[in-house]
């Protein structure tokens, strides 16, 4: 076999998510790392590769954990970075650069303890050509394509709101979810406007938390306490550093490009997918994801969700932890999307889908800026 298999052998989140003013960013990394390494039945001495985003970055995290690695990856392309770390870890393991790689995420997104400040360089492209127009973070930028999509494809405000409604139904089954009360379309549309057409309940949470993964060779699959989660296909791409320069406001090229790579490598079609995670910083992103991955045609994502296909009892379980809209969103949510995919394949999710063989995780970084896609399998392919 030219491409030996690689698995996720350990996966865990921080003990708690939400408002954790007693944890610094680094402490969240450490807690997540300790939990994931224990989940794999290993110790820090077994880890020979490290990946995370700055800040605090792989050097700080490795050092804090007493790891002196043979392989270091600090890829930082926003909330999807951890999916790219997994993909790069697969390559490193196949190349023999490392055997047991730890990928960590910790972010004091809400409490901002030991967290980097928000700085905007007024001489950068985004500082010159976007920030002067009064942008203030993702709510004012990631959201801009939606009105164009609504005009082109007739997506209604009610359908957009229903994305949050469907995901809350999953969150209601998850004791760790931040918001668990069932909501209606009216509740969403009655919540205050943050950036028209987006209401508060169509925007993600801002929380503290972390998660970590241990990635290693599939030939060691039997050595770990938990069932192996096979990494059967992956993809990555990038598109734009500025939302105004997105190629087409009605579709994400990078979602499609990374998704096609991942599906081709796994040898699957959408019909093979039992469980799906799509990074949902805002309610329109799952619609763009469903269409880019080919689950529905262009313009069909909103009606597909509103008809109940992705909620509990639907044929395509989507964002089953409750997603960034209801579960947690530290700022870089991708790690939590992977964690839920792992839990579903292992059969240990709070809202467990019936025996999924294939879970697909689509991560977004920045404002439609970068993308990673992972195909997780119960079996190697």
């Amino acid at each position: 076999m030219s491409n030996p298999g690689v698995i996720i052998a350990g996966a865990a989140e921080t003990n708690e998510l939400g408002k954790l003013p007693g944890h610094s960013t680094l402490a969240l990394h450490i807690e997540a790392a300790v939990n994931a390494v224990a989940d794999a039945g290993l110790t820090m001495k077994d880890i020979d590769g490290i990946a995370t985003v700055a800040a605090p970055g792989p050097v700080q995290v490795a050092h804090a954990l007493g790891i002196y690695p043979d392989w270091v990856d600090g890829t930082g392309v926003g909330g999807t970075s951890f999916l790219l770390h997994v993909r790069h870890a697969i390559a490193a393991i196949r190349a023999g650069y490392a055997k047991t790689i730890l990928i960590t995420h910790g972010e004091s997104g809400r409490s901002r303890v030991g967290a980097p400040g928000y700085r905007m360089d007024a001489a950068s492209p985004v500082g010159q050509f976007e920030a002067p127009y009064g942008t203030l973070g993702p709510t004012t930028t990631f959201t801009i394509p939606a009105l164009r999509y609504m005009k082109e494809y007739g997506l209604t405000h009610e359908q957009l709101a229903y994305v949050a409604v469907a995901q809350r139904q999953w969150a209601a089954k998850n004791p760790r979810a931040a918001f668990r009360d069932i909501i209606s379309v009216e509740d969403v549309l009655d919540s205050r406007l943050v950036a028209y057409p987006f209401h508060l309940l169509e925007c993600c949470l801002v929380t503290d938390g972390g998660g970590a993964l241990v990635v290693t060779s599939a030939e060691r699959a039997a050595d770990f306490p938990k069932p192996a989660v096979h990494l059967v296909g992956t993809g990555e791409s990038s598109e734009t550093p500025m939302i105004s320069q997105m190629l087409d406001f009605t579709e994400s090229q990078m979602f499609r490009q990374a998704g096609q790579k991942a599906f081709a490598e796994a040898g699957i079609t959408t019909a093979d997918v039992d469980h799906l995670m799509i990074y949902d910083a805002f309610a329109h992103v799952p619609i763009y994801g469903l269409e880019a991955l080919g689950f529905v045609g262009k313009g069909e994502g909103g009606p597909f969700i509103a008809e109940g296909n992705t909620e509990p009892g639907g044929r395509l379980p989507l964002n089953t932890n409750g997603g960034g809209l209801s579960y947690t969103h530290t700022g870089m949510y991708g790690m939590f999307a992977i964690q839920e995919g792992v839990r579903q394949i292992r059969g240990e999710a709070a809202a467990q889908v019936d025996n999924p063989e294939i879970s697909v995780v689509l991560g977004n970084g920045g404002m439609f800026a970068a993308c990673g896609v992972l195909v997780l399998g119960k079996q190697p392919r």
Binding site: M120, Y133, G134, R148, L193, Y196, S244
Partner: protein, 135 residues
Amino acid sequence: MASKMTPVPTPETKPYWNGCAAGELRIQRCTDCGKPYFYPRPICPSCGSTSVEWFTASGKATLYSYVINHRPAPGFDEEAPYAIAVVQLAEGPRMMTNLVGVPNTPEALVLDMPLRVTFEQRGDVSLPVFTPEEA
């Protein structure tokens, strides 16, 4: 009191900002494939050619998409809620902007409405913003 962000030109963007100061929207195009592009940079994103030139755009545009922001950025308290828009220039490229001379409401801001450039002084910089064509 916090003030609005003022862009800081770099050597490759200076002709754009100089154009704005002169009341012109100057952007670039490729002299090999002919395609206009924005934001300023010394390479054509369509064909990779580094043979590029500046030209003065018509200043005409249409409204491509927007949000109406209810949580103002520093310095924008008086305008809130205000639109953060992306317009499509008649020449093809898109850019972010604000919309002036029109109520920033969903009713008044209709996608594809015709717009034209105007300029707003901010510090040492003249910032292109857009206003309805018929205004």
